[in-house]
Amino acid sequence: MSAADSTALAGRAPIDGGRLVSTLGLLAGVGLLIVFVAAPLATIFIKSLQDDLGAYVGLANFAKYFSSAGLIQSIFNSVEIALVVTVLACLLAFGYAYALTRTCMPGRTLFRAIAMIPILAPSLLSAIALIYLFGNQGMIKGLLFGNSIYGPIGIVLGITFYVFPHVLMIMVTALSTADARLYEAAEAMCTSRWRAFWTITVPGARYGLISAGFVVFTLTITDFGVPKVIGGNFNVLATDIYKQVVGQQSFSMGAVVGLILLFPAIISFSVDRIVRRKQVAQLSARAVPYVPVPNKIRDRAFLAFCSLVAVFLIGIIGTAVFASLVTYWPYNLTLSLVHYDFNAIDPNGWASFTNSLEMAAWTAVIGTSVIFLGAYFVEKSDGLPFARGLLHMLAMIPMAVPGLVLGLAYVFFFSNPLNPLSGFYGTMAILVLSTVVHFYTVSHLSFVTALKQVDREFEAVSASLKVPAYKTMWRVHVPICLPLIIDVAIYLFLNAMTTVSAAVFLYAPDTKLASIAVLNMDDVGDQAPAAAMAIMIVLTSVCVKLVQVVVTGSLLRRTSVWRRRDGH
């Protein structure tokens, strides 16, 4: 009997409690994602066709939007900023990724770690640091040659810092999949390095480049923290949506801007999906991995380049630390912890920070379990192919939805008193839910990929031994995926600590988060305490990262005995 037959037979066992569980689980997953992803988003469409009192007005809101010169200007401003950041960030990240993957530059591990720094901080931090560096009282404002940091220049620099690690990861992946045989052939034919670069390296990484380009474009156009802090009077779409909703409480206009923001995100998401599929197929099984050989001039040039980028990244964080410690910039430069006394300057004080910790912890625990189960049901349950497909599709949606739009959708959906779930509104639970949903897709995809690698024979064997599926999952899939489970939990935790976008519409007075406190304190001009709170977020992220290294190490040693050949 072939393996396929045995799987089929086992799958069709007459009474299988496990199968019932997985069917119910699958349906529950679909139900949850419809309620927490699809339904809220649908309300945005509806809301954009209504006035603020809820009466249907057709396309009147859109007409109003497109007749306001100021709001139209924001679209051009946003696109302009996004294009500049895309070019700048892609060039920098490509060079940096090239240095990491294709050269023998010393300190590559260190440079890789440094490049990840921005992930640990809220995007507001870079903007605050840039003001200390290049503002009217900036330490090195001379480098701007009289231009103002408040506006396009500040936004571009701030967002480039924030998106750098995201682009870099895509570029590194793209450049890691080179086939050494092509370069050997090029060398054998005496092709110049320059020509080899343009005919082998760039085409080989082209999908990564396209994907990265679209990812940066979307991240830039939807980021809100940087333009809010440093944009001055330069309006962009992301700040417009905030002004409409928070400043003027015009939710229908907010919905219109939200839909406009959704456009680039959906396009970029679709391109990214197509491109990723192609890239997987690009590398044939017979490819030989490319191993760079030392080349003094090239390696030194890249060392210089990467050092420059690293100085920028460390400089931003360092400036923020400095800003939070200086007693009164720029007149009293003695260092003190006075700006960390949050209780003295804000009624929420340190509570915002502990709220963030609580929110991040719940997001990590609940998000990891739910997303893992969802991925498990998509990948491992038998039957109901339609439900599996639907669950997978629903899980893809969050990636295409900017945080601000998701937050607004949640406001519409959950604040409606007719909604039986309106009890969630204004609680910690809605912050956790929105954050889990916001970062669902990446976690889901990682789990699906990992679960795909677990042979389906496991289920077949355990089914034939009459072991229920959930036991198999607990004893086989969870331990095998444990390193990834921890990675995902950490990913969710870090994002929950730093996110502003969805939460800014959803927090209540007693659930204010640290990242929102940074925003509020900056709003009233308390820049140093804002920097201090941002640094608290960074410190937490660093600690969590360190714990991850330790825990992953020890857990792996204990649970992965089976991976070793000598162990019993």
Partner: protein
């Protein structure tokens, strides 16, 4: 395998303990009063502690943002607002709310000791003034000297080309201070002249800020040497040692009353009334006076350190009714003219 189960068991255990802890905390909680306010955040903890010390059964829950945001929020939420009481918000905004029937008339115990001019004319009053905040300029003396900027003495002085790019002002749509500036200029000069003044001022403005205190704080740091702000913030920064001068422009000063009013829809009406009663006491008024020179209870105000002299004499004869009626129209026009500056100066 057991280790995995143990680990997850421990996580579940932590979660259970955490839930229990939250439950215990909730059981001991005092009754919450939800207060919408635009008072400067650093003052709020002090007010809450003082009130809660006198009323141990209640706990204040602040919802704080700039005047424009809180006003828009209250008007949009209307009868569904979770607010029990609006406290320390501009009288202009409370007038708009009273007009829409959102505020309940209530005469706090001891309200007769306050200046009748500083509260709603209806009896019982729907809103009661607490203290006045007054427009002022914050000028960074150190930077002004370094950049060769003369000290401005009047609003008109700010139009001089020498100040180009050196002035920062709050956006009147989000900031109550910004709005009282605009409305006072209109009341001093008439609307047409005020708009042409602002057209000129716009040329000299570096950026518009979200809040009314931010311009003064920026002036304090020298980020922009001149901030259009309010007297308290400048005086406070000066007392803290920042190189700022607080200047009261000669044409007159816009001002507004921080006031409170109880929501008709308050869920905790008893709590709201308790807070209203406390807010008219002499103790509360003395606290108001720590930062503001003009308070609702006559005869107790002492001069505030570093306030411009005779600031009361320069306060314009403010017509709150006019300001409230025209607020929406003025802000829309302002947004159209100056809201979308394509690039900062």
């Amino acid at each position: 395998m057991g280790t995995v189960a143990q680990t997850f068991g421990r996580i579940a255990g932590f979660a259970a303990v955490a839930t229990l802890a939250i439950g215990i905390e909730a059981a001991a909680a005092r009754e919450k009063i939800t207060v919408y306010t635009a008072v400067e955040p650093e003052e709020l903890t002090g007010f809450a502690e003082a009130f809660e010390a006198d009323n141990p059964d209640y706990e204040i829950q602040w919802v704080r943002d700039s005047t424009g945001v809180i006003t828009a929020k209250l008007l949009a939420e209307g009868e569904n607002s979770p607010a029990d009481i609006v406290w320390g918000l501009a009288a202009t905004s409370l007038l708009m709310m009273a007009d829409r029937g959102l505020l309940e008339g209530y005469a706090p115990a001891g309200v007769d000791k306050l200046s009748p001019a500083l509260m709603d004319k209806q009896s019982p009053p729907r809103w009661v003034g607490q203290r006045a905040w007054v427009a002022s300029l914050c000028v960074n003396t150190y930077e002004a000297e370094a950049k060769g900027l003369p000290m401005p003495a009047s609003w008109q002085d700010l139009l001089k080309p020498v100040y180009k790019g050196h002035i920062v002002m709050p956006n009147p749509a989000s900031s109550g201070t910004g709005f009282l500036d605009v409305s006072s200029w209109m009341q001093i000069w008439g609307e047409d002249m005020a708009w042409s003044y602002m057209d000129g001022l716009h040329e000299n403005i570096g950026i518009y800020t979200h809040s009314g205190s931010a311009p003064c704080k920026m002036a304090g740091r020298g980020e922009y040497p001149i901030g259009v702000s309010f007297a308290y913030k400048g005086a406070q920064l000066k007392s803290d040692g920042a190189p700022v001068a607080v200047i009261a422009p000669s044409e007159g000063l816009g001002w507004d009353l921080e006031s409170f009013g109880i929501m008709k829809t308050a869920k905790n009406k008893a709590g709201a009334k308790a807070f209203a009663d406390w807010s008219v006491t002499e103790k509360a008024n003395r606290m108001y006076n720590e930062a503001y020179a003009v308070v609702a209870m006559p005869g107790i105000a002492k001069p505030v350190e570093n306030f411009p002299e005779n600031i009361q004499d320069k306060m314009i004869d403010n017509d709150f009714g006019w300001a409230a009626e025209n607020r929406k129209r003025i802000l829309e026009e302002w947004e159209k003219r100056y809201g979308s500056k394509s690039a900062p100066k």
